[in-house]
Symmetry: C2
Subunit: 308 residues, 2 copies
């Protein structure tokens, strides 16, 4: 095993399934398995399932791994040892996941939140590969952010940096999940998407995000109105980010936006319009490049964060 | 001369006067002189005056210096060799100031814009001393920003980062100097201050910024209205900065705000109100700590920027 070929395990835990993969330092997946998440989602059961499946995957594939990356579906403490809370795992409160998992797997475990993991994977292997100054925006239920400088996550004083969903766009705007008004997330989160979809598609089945993107591509004016709205507020958020960071690229992920070239075209044009030319020059606005394995690649990426 | 006692020269060039000082690595001014800027402000005359006065200052004081920091009153290229343009020196266009000054002074010259210089000096010797994650806001004619991480200026991809005056607060807000709408600078720049002052003090002499701060402290409702307005929009800008950077402190300088404890009290309260508790915890909002020598200390600070 050469140094450059260090292999790690990435674990992507969801409420329904969890994915485990053996991933190389250049982002190739050598082996993977998908397993149902134990009913009840209690930590002892989840831990047993994670440990058994990891061991079996390594045994079956004949591969070794030097560490484990775990992308938390929730809030992590600033030392990245605990999961403070995880919306899909309501019984988890200040769970010392790192210590538990290290004991169970007998491997070093690196824990972080899933948006940081996403950003790091994009920087290492995705749309942001090779960029020194990279921002990530994950548009999902909420809007999360990641700031990657020189291959390292920028975390700020208490590990609370990159709350990019809470960039203010209008102090009188819609209420955000955090209770304040007019944040990026208040315009772009899933609730805003669903409200618009319900309003514009009052009869029949609501188009899911992927279908909405197809409709927009086909010229459906209702789908286009939604995508123009999302693109507009995304552009305002990106403008502030560009003026602050002068990044090489902003990589944007998330089901409601990612499959829509229509949305990205408008987004790029509006970003130019809302930023100073000397600052926006060369800044790329890119959709996530990791595809459906983004979660497990993000988890694995945590093991490859640059050291100082 | 011990290594720790390295002394440098700081040059602060204004349209009326220029200041030259010999500054230690702990920010003490060992010698200084103030000289009128040559009439016409042409570079050859300015260069001669800078070189002569620097030599005389060193000779008189018997001090030595290892380098020269020059805080440019204008826009610097990304390699920090040229002054692209300087509003008070209209004949300067892409002036290779660094090369000229190195030749004239026979010392290494470090050039940067005055807002970066201000931020660095605050981080080294001012209100931000000892802070690892520090933001600077310079509220003057416009609003400039500086981002200092681990003693180094964060410059972004093309040296165009930290345009913090162009954080968007409202896409339908007042027009900014850059031509876009609703940027922090459009609310806080000198033009906005003067317009409010003219409206609220329609007769008699307009209070200068320092006098306005005195009036606010004394309870004058007109001055307080202006300071509440400035504090409010500063708070909105700080909120976005805090959500992005989770900094230890934001240091704010500039004549229209710095002397007003009334403004800073409101600012701190509003920042708390507009930010998520987990992110704003422990973030300090501080007035500049450098006083009237800020310019020349900023210039000198450029020589003490941390290396990677």
């Amino acid at each position: 095993l050469k140094r450059e070929e260090k292999q790690v395990i990435g674990i992507d835990l969801g409420g329904t399934n969890f994915k485990i993969a053996v991933v190389t330092s250049d982002g190739r997946i050598l082996a993977e398995r998908v397993t149902p998440t134990p009913d009840g989602r209690e930590w002892p059961d989840v831990q047993t399932a994670l440990a058994e499946n990891t061991r079996e995957l390594l045994k079956e594939s004949g591969l070794a791994a030097t560490s484990v990356g775990f992308a938390a579906p929730g809030i992590v403490d600033e030392k990245r040892e605990y999961i403070r809370l995880a919306p899909n795992f309501p019984t988890w409160k200040n769970l010392p996941l790192r210590a538990h998992l290290e004991k169970a797997l007998k491997l070093p475990v690196i824990l972080d939140n899933d948006v940081n993991a996403f950003g790091l994977a994009e920087a290492l292997w995705g749309a942001g590969k090779g960029k020194r100054y990279l921002l990530g925006l994950a548009v999902g239920t909420g809007v999360g952010g990641a700031i990657i400088l020189d291959g390292k996550l920028y975390r700020g004083m208490h590990g609370a940096a990159a709350e990019l969903g809470h960039i203010l766009l209008n102090e009188n705007g819609p209420v955000c999940s955090c209770g304040k008004r007019g944040h990026l997330e208040a315009y772009l989160g899933r609730r805003a998407f669903d409200e618009m979809a319900t309003r514009l598609f009052p009869t029949g089945e609501l188009p899911a995000p992927k279908r909405m993107a197809e409709l927009a591509a086909q010229g459906d004016e209702r789908a286009r109105e939604i995508h123009r709205y999302l693109a507009h507020y995304l552009a305002l958020g990106c403008a502030t980010l560009i003026h602050c960071f002068n990044p090489e690229a902003i990589v944007i992920g998330g089901g409601t936006v990612i499959d829509s070239p229509y949305l990205f075209d408008i987004l790029r044009a509006e970003v130019k319009q809302h930023t100073i030319e000397a600052v926006n020059e060369g800044v790329e606005i890119l959709p996530s490049g990791l595809g459906y394995m983004a979660g497990v690649l993000g988890a694995a990426a945590l093991c490859f964060e640059a050291k100082n």
